[in-house]
Every structure is written in C-alpha cells, then in structure tokens.
C-alpha cells in the first residue's frame, strides 16, 4: 500500500514557512521562519521535553523543585527564560504549576561580572529560588577532598590542584567533573527532584566525541539520557533537540534580548595549540559541522542515545571521581575509571 502522499501545498518561499504571513528572519534547518514562529519552535521543543513535569502530576503547594544550573551562557539562560514562561502559562491556565525552579550558579571566580549578571537575572525572573556556590566548595565534598589531597584551608586550593595536573585537557576535565559533583551535591542536600541541564544538541554531540576520546565512551548512554543517572539524581536535558546556533539566535531576538545577561567567553584560538583541550577540539569541530550539516549533529546524539546504558541496579562500584560505573572499565581494584586515570595517574598507586 503506497504511503499517504502529502497534499501539495503551494508554499510562498518569501514568507515564513509556517505561518505564511510574516517575512522570515532566520532559516532553521531548511525552513525560513519569522521571529514569532521561530520563537514558538524553540519554546515548543523545550517544553515538550518537560512533559513529566506537567501540572496534573503535582499537587498544589507541593510542587517539585527542579535544580537548574545556570552558567550564564546562552543555553542555560535561554532554558531559564523559556521555563519561566512555561511556568507563567501553567499558572495562568490552572492556577498552579507543575514544578518550581531552583536556579544555581556555580562561581568559578573567572569573571568579575558574574555577581552583577546574576543580579539582573534575579530581577528579570524573580519568581524562582536562587543560590550561588563557589566551585572550590567541591573540594570539600566527601571523597573528593581525600582523593585530590586538597588543602581546604587554603583559599587557592583549587588552583593548586589544577596546577598539579599534566595537561589543559586534564584541567578542563577536572573542572567539569567538580562542577557536576557540586551541582549533584546541592540537589541531594536540598532534595531537589531532578537537575535540568541546558546542554544543546551541539553540546551533547561535542561531549559524545570528547568523552569517547577520553576513554569514557561506555558512560555516554548513562550520562546523556534523560532520567535516572549514576550520580543519584535524575538528569534532564530539555534543550537536546536544539542546536547551539539556534539557541543563540533565539536569545538575541528576544525582547528585551538576553544578550546583556549572557556572559561571553574569551575567544579560543582557531588553530590547535598546546593548550587546546579535547573539548575545545570537539567544540570547534561541531561548530563547523553545525553550520552545514545540522542533521548530522542531531544524528550523533540520537545514535548515542540508542546505546543501552548499564542498568543502574547492576552497578556495583563507581569511579570515585566521575561516578561512572566501573565494572570492566577500569584496571583491577582501581578506584578510578580509565578516563579519570588519565587525569590522576598517581591516584591509583
């Protein structure tokens, strides 16, 4: 039986593909869209992923608190904006919301304007719970302290530890791991139901290849899927269907634009230098792929999610640093997974 044929609709290519009313302002994948339709496209993709937190699943006054780590980059800012809107709509429609947001900013002391930026965020979205922690707080977490031999009295402990690592990649990796551990700790301490991350398709694709290159390929299905994670708190990635460039465009076109609140990272050199990290390499790579072949980026993420994660019930031991399930993925009697051994070769002695 031949498939249903789509009725041939006459499409005016000079108008927005969806509403056929306004002029297009941006081309998404192959469709030219006007600002309004593009805005809807972005919001819908995110909200769709929040299905499990719909109003009817929550009792009034009993809303679940979800932790939203805010890096002040375009993706997490956009996530905050769209979810704020979503909550407003939920409240309008039914008088209550399905969840509430706890926005957490982790300060790595790299930027002085972080505090000021956070203030403007709080002003624009006052309805949420806010808190800020220092990245160096991660050194006081159980297990980390001892593993890294951190001198917690020293305010520069973090730099000292990073200084001991053997490469820029290792430092970058360590920072990412510490950040994640801290966020998870906050979520656990305050009984947050889940952590809502702002990673885009592009970012997830970068991480797929980067973690593969670091020897942690086996962790990918567990750490990048929505739902239960080996860290003990469920992770969600509602931005997983949007490309970074789409998110950046969305943030810019908002009125008032989010650009003022988004921190701009220092530009990294385009050519591979001694200090280029594996993550930088993948970021550069996918930046170029995203331009011409966005569907390929999405395909990478989709493929990885097809891999079957280790069943969490069957995990016996986990890497002390990154929480990855250890069985078979580390040398005998090692406390760390292969990926983390690269960063801390001396820790296994």
């Amino acid at each position: 039986m031949p498939g249903r044929q789509r009725a041939d609709v006459v499409v005016d290519r000079n108008l927005c593909r969806r509403c056929q009313v306004n002029e297009p302002t941006i081309t998404v994948r192959t469709e030219p869209l006007c600002a309004a339709c593009f805005g809807k496209y972005v919001s819908t993709k995110i909200v769709k992923r929040m299905e499990s937190f719909r109003v009817r699943h929550a009792g009034a006054g009993n809303e679940r608190l979800l932790l939203l780590p805010l890096s002040l980059g375009p993706c997490s800012m956009t996530l905050l904006h769209v979810l704020s809107q979503h909550l407003t709509v939920q409240a309008e429609k039914s008088g209550r919301t399905g969840y509430r947001l706890h926005v957490l900013h982790v300060d790595d002391r790299e930027r002085e304007d972080a505090t000021a930026l956070m203030e403007s965020v709080k002003q624009r979205y006052p309805e949420h719970v806010y808190s800020t922690r220092l990245l160096s707080d991660a050194l006081q977490l159980e297990g980390i302290n001892e593993l890294l031999d951190a001198d917690t009295d020293n305010s520069d402990a973090l730099s000292t530890i990073l200084g001991r690592l053997n490469s820029a990649t290792s430092r970058d990796d360590m920072l990412q791991i510490l950040l994640r551990k801290l966020v998870v700790d906050v979520a656990k301490q305050q009984s947050r139901e889940a952590i809502i991350w702002g990673d885009s398709t592009t970012r997830l694709a970068e991480r797929t290849l980067a973690e593969t290159a670091k020897g942690r390929g086996f962790t990918l299905p567990s750490v990048m899927s929505d739902g239960a994670s080996p860290h003990g708190v469920p992770f969600y990635y509602p931005m997983r269907d949007l490309l970074s460039k789409e998110i950046v465009a969305f943030a810019s076109q908002l009125d008032p634009s989010l650009d003022a609140m988004i921190r701009v990272d220092k530009a990294k050199p385009a050519v591979s230098t001694k200090n280029t990290t594996i993550d930088d390499l993948m970021r550069q790579y996918f930046e170029s792929v995203e331009r011409e072949y966005p569907s390929i980026v999405a395909n990478v993420v989709r493929t990885t999610s097809k891999l079957q994660a280790v069943l969490l019930e069957e995990v016996e031991r986990q890497c002390e640093l990154c929480d990855a399930p250890l069985q078979g993925h580390s040398p005998e009697r090692s406390r760390l997974c292969y990926g983390c051994i690269r960063i801390l070769p001396h820790a296994i002695e």
Partner: protein, 466 residues
Amino acid sequence: MAPHICQLCNTSRAQILRPKNHARICAPCFIDIFEREIAETITSTNLFQPGERIAIGASGGKDSTVLASVLKTLNDRHAWGLDLVLLSIDEGITGYRDHSLDAVKRNSVEYDLPLKIVSYEELYGWSMDQVVAQIGKKGNCTYCGVFRRQALDRGAAMLGVGHVVTGHNADDVAETVLMNLLRGDLPRLGRATSILTSTPSATMSRKETEADGGEVTITNVKRSKPLMYAYEKEIVMYAHYKKLDYFSTECIYSPEAFRGSARTLIKNLERIRPESILDVVRSGIDMAKLVPNAEGHPKGAAEAVIRNEVEDEAEGGCGGSNAKEVVSEMAQMEQKLRQDEQAEEAGTETEIKLPSKVLDGQRHDRDLKPDLPPEAALTTYVQGQNHDRHSQTDGQQLPSDIRTVPIRTKQEKKSSRKATRDAPVPKQRLGQCERCGYLSSQAVCKACMLLEGLNKARPRTGIEVG
C-alpha cells in the same frame, strides 16, 4: 642538557620519544617493546591456533610489511608453528599496482614467506583494465570496490587458508570509531572494534566444516587485526629502525567525507593527548558492547564478531580518481536525514527504494538493509581513493556484524515499511549468494551481479588490452 637515558634498559641513550606515551627509550628497546606488545595482543586474545595457516594480506605498504615482519619474527621466536603466507591482490591496473607488488615480492624473499598473488582476472575472469575497456571510466570504481571486498576471502579460500590477517592499526580503528559515531552507524561500530571477525558458518558449523573434510570455502574465512593496538607512527618508526622495505602509497580522502573528518580529528587528538587514540579504541570497544541487538538486549562481549559482506563498502579506492564526481558524503547524509525528519513530522512514510542496478557508478543500495531506519542506512559512495591498507589488503573496511543469524538460502521479500526513529537497531538478513556461496543479503551477491552484466556484454572474440 644531559641526554636522556632509556627508561627501559637504563643503559643506552634514549633516541626515541615514543608516540604512544612519550616514553624516552633507545631504538633496540623500542623494537623489543613494540614486538612484545603485539605478542601480548595475540596471546591475550587467543588470536591464533598453534600450527594454523595464516594469510597475511600484503599490499606492499607499511602496515602489511611491518605485520609480515613482526609475525615472522614472533612466530620464530615463540615457536607458534604458524604457517604464514603472503597474499596479495592484483586488480590488473597496468602501471598502478606494479610498484607495490614489487615491494611485496621483495618482502617474500626477505622474510622467506611464500607469496600468492591473486588477480581479479583469476578470481572473476576480469581485470580492471578489461572492465574499464568494457564499461568506460565511469562506474569502474564500483566494480573495483566490490571485487576487492571479496578478493581477500576468495584468495584465501583458493589457498585453503581459513584465517586472513590485515594491517589495520590503532589509528585506523580509532578513525572508524569516530566515523561511525558521526554517521550514526552502530552495527559497524561493533565490527570495527573487534580484533577477530568471522563469518557465520565459521562460528556455527564447525561440525559441518569438519564433515566436509575441513574444506575452506569463502564463507568461513576468519579475519583479524593483530596490529589493532599499534600506533601508526610507531609502525612507521619500527619500519624505519628495522630498515624494512615498503612502498608508500598516498591516501587521498575527499575533504568533507566522514573518514577524512575523522582522520583529522584523530590527528589533532593525538597532538593534544597521544593516549587518546587508544582511548578512542577502548571507548569504541565498550560502546560496541552496548549496541542493542534485535531483541533489544545488549550484545555483551562476543568472541567472534560476524561479518556481513553487504556492509563492507567500497571505501577502498581505485586507480582512477573520481574525487570531483563524488558528491560529498556528509552533504548526502545531511540531505537524507533532513528528508527523514520532515517525513516523520509530516507523518508520511519514509521512502524505501527497491534495489536498483548500479546506475551512475553509485550504489543505490540503501535498501539492501530494509529494516534499517533511514538515518542509519548509508548510501555508500566511493569516497576517496585509498591506495594503502584500505584498498589492497582490506577493501573491506572492517567487517561487520550484529548477531548470530541462521543462514538462509532464500531471500526474503523486502516490504516497504515505515521506519520509526525509535526503531531498535534492526536485524540484517544474512544469506548466501546462489552462484558463488558468498555471504549476501541478496539472492545473488553484488559481485556475481556485476559479473553477469559484464559477461553478457563480453564480445565473443577476446580483446587484447594494452
């Protein structure tokens, strides 16, 4: 500044900075540890049986030359009793393969190993020169690729050898892992990272093979890659320090193709962190275990991964350069993915074409795998011309698999079906070619089909070429 002392023997001056881990060692220690690591790979995976007959796929390039040299050395040193033979494929392209074949001949003399050169003419009745004379320069790459795929297996069977080894190194495997991640090709991920691959009959019907008098047919040839954990740079270094004789052929990759991309990434990764090549391989091996099989269960560690002829694409190059005619692989994939996305959103069925003939030299064989969701199916194009290890010894890019499937003699009818995005990684129906018995998911394998076309058009009087 005082010169460094070798970290292994603590005696000689260290002349070498080892690519794998930046250890500083002297040349003799390097040769020693290189050989020892390969020996370790072989023994820890039980790659060979004592007394086994092994055909070394020899292209004359650095990988197969080093492979031959190391295997010979280890075989003698550890008395494995292996019966080694060099196997070389001659496509019959005048002026092209000659130099590398000469190198292989010299290797044969040097290592005192018998050499068998198998030509396309011998295997199929047609040399590439003859094919081109018949069909012209367009589409000839397809023939070469298809023929090459089977050539090693057929050649081995002719020699009565059931195990072929190829010179695939860590860089190759790492590239393939990244490439398959980029392409979203999970089944191939499994095959690429297995050190030993097999055909279903080899694993399943040992009893039958014995009953037949243990005859080797082209359907039960094992394939392995002992150099899988050896860095390409170290292979070059080994060849240099042992003064091995090889013919270095260029690899041309079309710039936007997946393999070219993956190769660049690997090279950059190596610069950032040399261990990352093996880390990619390790990740690939681990991820392959997580690939769900048809029932949706993870495969788990399989001992011998099963190859599928149809999966092996014409990644090897051929003599003629059609780089400009080849549409960028990535652009093709992008287009297909988009169409599928749009179709899915519109709720229409995704199009599945029936098998078509080779039209413009390009395979439209997406549907050799009808069960594959469109994103995963790959149209394969002759991608770059790969003259070195990917062409001669292993036109089969890394054999394939997913799971044990009973061999069928009849081909199932393909039905067009709506492939959903969340379809589990699909089954592949393995069967045998009616004519030659080679593995195929068609009733007649690709090579036989092409040959049929060629033979029909062959004039009755012989054509002299050249």
